[in-house]
């Protein structure tokens, strides 16, 4: 488990950060100043997709040996990489949708910087918090994408399965 955590911590933290951002997006979009506004379904949907993809990727790491196919050692990796790319793309898109949809809020405060309700400030601060969550997640995943991505157990199993010597 420790090895697993050591290898997957970026994805786990990214998933948690995305989840946190998702919760903030939902809460800030449905309460306070933005209550009543159209719900930002794209950002929410993409965030959920990202969390699911990351979860699947982590699960794949745990159970990667079960789907590793003899003679095609890269399939697990390809699926894992695909999940990673999907999660990155989803988070980036969610971040974009959040930014675009909340930009008027920022502009409202920026252009007329006095006498706006504190609730508007709260909404903006929550938006910034959500953005920070997405940014942390995506940066971690970008780092992850440059790193070796197979857990030790999987590596072992794969190595055993895939090694020509075993044949």
């Amino acid at each position: 488990m420790a090895t697993f955590m050591k290898k997957s911590w970026r994805e786990i933290i990214a998933a948690v950060a995305t989840l946190a951002a998702l919760i903030i997006v939902i809460v800030s979009g449905t309460t306070g100043f933005l209550a009543g506004n159209a719900i930002n379904y794209p950002a929410i949907g993409l965030s959920i997709l990202a969390v699911v993809a990351l979860t699947a990727d982590v699960a794949l790491m745990i159970r990667g040996n079960k789907i590793a196919v003899e003679g095609m050692p890269s399939l697990r990796s390809i699926i894992s990489d695909g999940l990673l790319i999907v999660s990155i793309a989803s988070i980036c898109a969610a971040l974009a949708f959040l930014l675009v949809r909340r930009m008027p809020l920022v502009a409202d405060i920026y252009f007329i910087p006095v006498n706006h309700p504190a609730a508007e400030d709260v909404a903006m601060n929550m938006t910034i918090a959500a953005l920070v969550g997405y940014v942390i997640a995506v940066l971690l995943l970008i780092v992850e994408s440059f790193m070796s991505r197979t857990s030790m157990s999987v590596k072992h199993d794969e190595a055993v399965q895939d090694s020509p010597a075993k044949k």
Binding site: D108, F111, S145, M147, R149, A165
Partner: protein, 1078 residues
């Protein structure tokens, strides 16, 4: 190979992030493209029109400027012209002024180096154009003491003028000395530290010491606060208020007095300053109010100081010894609702303002109380804290109210280098008693040429009926004004003034419930100022001159002006019979005028909600009714419901199938309606073509980029803030009839170059105001393609402490109303769709968004609304226009646009106050135009559905904020709402069709996007990021494929040699592991 796949994977990830950011940038830049253009000096969209046979019809408004140079010169020349007329000479002992043209002067005060050129926010002076005070003075021939100058130069060394957060280019002010609680004057010790020899050349530059004192002003921030609370730590002032001079400023003045025989003080403030000590100081020879002169205004100041120009300005506000003692100040600032926390924060329920002073603001208070005292009608007794001591400080014990302790310079005051004799030849009241013709002759009796304002006042009787019915009456009121031409010595000019007597009518909310004229004797009076006009009336009434002459006796400086002869300056008019509640009971549009603000949901009188709460100031009992601060009021019942800004329920299921939107059966376009009257029958057909979604989008995004309506061919439009010119655009973006200026790039200058609106009002020159509207707003519209200009700003000066007063004209509804009306007429002559702002009652910046402003109906109608009314009815035509048919033939068509205020009117959002927005604005005043909110967006603070029902056409901002019903589905079930939208479309399209919004529009017209630098930037970013993603994915796939081939090769290798082989996963660790296992 594994490391390759990782790299491609990483590139893909980075590309995805960059792509998303580039997309966000692209969307954001396009969304706020006009602001981006303003910030970067680009122009991202152009309207293209092909030439036709009827180009004259296409370009129905034509700019006077065909090149950027012509435009630059045109704006500059007008600013110079206005700058010469705005200065008000307040004191000129022993003819200290004018100075010689090459006088050697020493300039004192931090403001002598860094004066306030214009507003700090909201139509600021253009820093790119500004000629600094010292440069202007030197160019005009003055020789400035370099030693003193170097001290100030040292102080500001390394400091730069302010760059605003958005648009507006460059503010010619230093942030370090711009605040509302500290004048930031340098002490003598600081001067010594900056330049130990600062005083070394006093003797060489001793023709005069010129001291400049000033206070900044502008939008944003809370503005000025009276008393200790308004002073920064360590700041002490003469009267204890920030608007009087600080210890450091007085030390500078004393330094000048100690070392120079001639001391001249320039007052660089649009908030009336408390300068009685300067008036009384025999060592100060001259005082001149210069307000905020604008980018080139110090040329005019220099020319006035050296006598090239004879000063002809006059104060448009009273200068009190202690402005904080005006009765209006008893209720000012943050006075929170006791239960403010009970409300949704979105509704912006913060505080309230009970304007218990009634009609007695500005000179109406000081002159009326004075008149009552000298007439023996009471008013002399005053309680501690409500009147001024002789030195201008607050009297701390009960005593006697004395005009001389209250007023420094009365409304209308202003001296000249020559003398004038004024004669009121006659006043002929027309048979219907609605108007009169006054003939006035002015003769220059002095030795130099000059021009002067003609101030016509009237005094109406204050009767028992008035006392019984709570009708208040100012002892004297300005009813019209004109300005002479430049008169040579000995020359005379006679002007016929068409006087609208409705400005003299009083509103009786109790019995007649309309405007009334009392029976009795009326006096028409000329005066060099309001106090003199009143004294003339009092003398005509038999009040002994020694009792009346107060200001003139203690103002030896007034020797420059003529002393009025009572018989030549006063005419009387006797009205017999009962109280006349008929003559002014019907508006010019034919609407019956009756109570709208005294009861019901839209009342402005707080007593309508909580009877008996407020006692309004009455001249029948000055002492007993003097306002106190109304603190701790609680909003309950219907008042509380209204404050929530959600008080009309939206219906969901009404049958609205007969109300057409998006009808495609007609081929009519907005171009076919260019110049059409409001009553043109084709409007219905055109409006039916507009889809509901188009309207909702149009109404929801009325900031600087206003979307068009494709269904009727209405192009996208741009608008900008005024009132002093375009806030966001530069001449480098200019164009003439659709063709960009060839020389545009040489003129990175704005159009905000003229003196402040206060300065304009203080010229008392309607023709100049008309030209101001033509140039600053009208030409900004045509040169910069800005059909909608947010201005002029016309709220009254309720008191001296509103920092945004710089954008507004005056305390008086006639001076302000006629000045603003002339600006509107000038602007509309060039096609500007004006947004006269801020309707109504924007009396302070503190809590401006949401503050609930209450006053009785008499005050509302006789002051602020009467003021706005002039612009919406197109009143106040200059005498020269009515005598010359070749002048603007459309003068008199009222303003076609309005912007509402931030503050509530009564309990509700201003745009939702049906009484003001529909009953008065549209019905009584006949307004048919475009009504937009201030920057509220579609939010609860704008009460969008209630405002739509009250004729609001658009909401300034960025779309819905916290409002879920602003959709086709949300509104389609409410019949009243859809009918209101239809009506609002009619208002909006009529206003646009009669503006430059359709200038250059014909059947070929379309808008095209221009490839700007920022568009190139985001496109490149999109391409690069997109390429990264594609390259990353491609690289990854190739690397995987190669890896797989490698595996296969490896297997084959194993099969053939059974030797050492490396399984090459894309995971380099696994390869190691495999290797190990081998």
């Amino acid at each position: 190979m594994a490391s390759h796949s990782r790299i491609w994977r990483g590139i893909t990830a980075i590309g995805a992030l960059l792509l998303s950011l580039a997309m966000v940038a692209a969307v954001t830049l396009e969304m706020y493209r006009t602001s981006v253009d303003a910030a970067l000096g680009t122009r991202s969209q152009r309207t293209v029109t092909q030439s036709t046979k009827n180009d004259k019809d296409t370009w129905n408004y034509q700019s006077s400027f065909k090149t950027a140079k012509e435009a630059y010169d045109g704006f500059k020349n007008f600013a110079l012209k206005e700058g010469e007329e705005t200065n008000v000479l307040l004191k000129n002992d022993n003819q200290a002024l004018p100075l010689s043209k090459n006088a050697k002067i020493t300039m004192f005060g931090v403001r002598s180096y860094a004066p306030v050129y214009g507003s700090s926010g909201g139509s600021i002076a253009d820093g790119y154009s500004t000629v600094q005070i010292t440069e202007a003075f030197k160019e005009k021939g003055f020789q400035i003491n370099p030693s003193m100058l170097s001290a100030y130069e040292s102080y500001f060394k390394g400091q730069k003028w302010t760059k605003p957060k958005f648009g507006s280019g460059l503010i010619p002010e230093y942030e370090s000395i711009t605040s509302y609680n500290n004048p930031h004057e340098l002490s003598l010790n600081e001067l010594k530290r900056l330049n130990p020899n600062y005083a070394s050349e006093y003797k060489d530059y001793n023709d005069a010491a010129v001291v400049v004192v000033g206070r900044p002003a502008g939008e944003n921030g809370d503005g000025y606060t009276p008393g200790q609370a308004g002073l920064a730590d360590g700041v002490h002032t003469v009267t204890g208020n920030i608007l009087s001079l600080s210890d450091e400023e007085m030390a500078i003045i004393h330094e000048a007095e100690a070392n120079f025989k001639k001391v001249i003080v320039l007052v660089n403030s649009t908030n009336p300053m408390e300068i009685a000590n300067l008036q009384d100081d025999a060592n100060i020879d001259a005082i001149m109010w210069i307000g905020f002169p604008g980018a080139y205004g110090f040329y005019g100041v220099a020319d006035t100081l050296n006598g090239t120009v004879n000063p002809s300005g006059a104060l448009g506000d009273v200068f009190a010894k202690n402005s904080a003692l005006a009765p209006a100040m008893a209720n000012y600032g943050n006075i929170p609702w006791k239960n403010a926390h009970d409300f949704s924060e979105d509704a912006a329920v913060n505080s309230y303002l009970i304007q218990a002073e009634g009609i007695y603001t500005g000179y109406r208070y000081y002159e009326t109380r004075y008149a009552d005292i000298v007439s023996g009608r009471g008013g002399a007794q005053a309680s501690a804290g409500t009147y001024a001591a002789a030195d201008g400080t607050v009297a701390t014990s009960d005593g006697t109210w004395d005009y001389n302790n209250e007023v420094t310079y009365p409304f209308g005051y202003g001296l000249s280098y020559t003398t004038f004799e004024r004669k009121l030849n006659s006043v002929q009241v027309n048979g219907d008693k609605k108007s009169a013709t006054a003939s006035v002759t002015v003769t220059n009796t002095g030795k130099v040429a000059g021009k002067t304002p003609i101030q016509l006042y009237a005094s109406a009787p204050y009767t028992q009926y008035d006392r019984d019915n709570g009708v208040e009456k100012s002892a004297i009121e300005l009813i019209d004004f004109e300005k002479t031409d430049i008169l040579q010595p000995g020359e005379s000019q006679t002007i016929e003034m068409k006087v609208d007597l409705s400005v003299l009518a009083s509103y009786d909310a109790k019995t007649a419930k309309t405007f009334i004229m009392d029976p009795g004797r009326y006096y028409f009076s000329l005066g060099d100022n309001v106090h003199e006009a009143l004294n003339n009336v009092l003398s005509a009434q038999g009040i002994q001159p020694e009792m009346t002459d107060t200001v003139t006796n203690n103002q030896s400086s007034r020797t420059a002006n003529s002393q009025s002869v009572v018989d030549d300056t006063v005419q009387q008019w006797d009205v017999d019979g009962d109280v006349d509640s008929v003559t002014f009971a019907v508006s010019k549009s034919g609407q019956k005028i009756t109570n709208k603000l005294s009861e019901g949901d839209y009342a402005t009188d707080f007593n309508a909600f909580q009877p008996g709460t407020v006692t309004y100031l009455s001249r029948s009992n000055w002492e007993g009714t003097y306002p106190h601060t109304y603190e701790g009021l609680e909003a309950t019942g219907r008042l509380a419901e209204l404050l929530g800004n959600d008080f009309i329920k939206l219906k969901k299921n009404e049958d609205t199938s007969d109300i057409k939107f998006g009808d495609k059966s007609s081929s009519l376009t907005i171009n076919d309606m260019k110049g059409a009257s409001y009553d043109d029958e084709r409007w219905g057909e055109l409006i039916d073509k507009v889809t509901l979604q188009e309207y909702l989008d149009f109404a929801a995004n009325a900031f600087h980029a206003i979307g068009g309506m494709p269904s009727i061919g209405l192009p996208d439009m741009t608008s900008d803030d005024g009132p002093g010119g375009s806030d966001s655009h530069l001449l480098s973006e200019g164009q003439y009839q659709g063709t960009p200026y060839a020389d545009g790039e040489k003129y990175n200058k704005a159009t905000r170059v003229a003196p402040s609106p206060v300065n304009l009002a203080y010229t008392w020159n309607k023709e100049l105001a008309y030209e101001n509207g033509q140039i600053l707003m009208g030409e900004s519209t045509l040169v910069l393609n800005l059909p909608i200009m947010i201005g002029p700003a016309m709220n009254l000066h309720r008191h001296a402490y509103n920092s945004r007063g710089v954008e507004y004209y005056s305390e008086d509804p006639v001076l302000s109303g006629y000045t603003g009306s002339a600006v509107v007429q000038g602007a509309q002559s060039k096609g500007t769709l004006v947004n006269v702002k801020h309707l109504a009652f924007n009396d302070q910046e503190i809590n401006r968004s949401g503050i609930a402003v209450f006053m009785n109906e008499q005050k509302a109608r006789e002051l602020e609304l009467r003021n706005f009314q002039q612009a919406f009815e197109g009143n106040g035509q200059p005498a020269s226009f009515s005598q010359d048919k070749n002048k603007d033939k459309r003068y008199g068509e009222g303003a076609r646009g309005v912007m509402t205020s931030y503050n509530r009117i009564g309990a509700v959002a201003p745009s939702a106050n049906r009484s003001v927005m529909v009953d008065i604005l549209r019905d009584e005043w006949g307004f048919k135009g475009y009504n937009v909110t201030d920057f509220t967006s579609i939010s609860l603070k704008a009460a969008p559905k209630e405002s739509t029902l009250a004729g609001t056409v658009a909401f300034c901002g960025f779309g819905p904020q916290g409002i879920d019903y602003w959709t086709v589905e949300g509104l389609s079930g409410d019949r009243d709402m859809l009918l209101a939208i239809k009506q609002n479309l009619h208002y909006a399209l009529y206003a646009l069709a009669n503006s430059a919004a359709l200038n250059g529009v014909n059947s070929s017209t379309h808008t095209v996007n221009v490839m700007t630098s920022w568009r190139i930037g985001y496109i490149v970013a999109l391409v690069v990021a997109g390429a990264m993603v594609l390259a990353g994915l491609a690289g990854y796939i190739i690397s995987i494929m190669r890896a797989r081939k490698g595996i296969i090769r490896g297997v084959k290798s194993h099969e053939t040699s059974a030797g050492e082989s490396i399984v090459e996963d894309h995971n380099d660790n696994s390869s190691v592991t495999s290797k190990e296992r081998n």
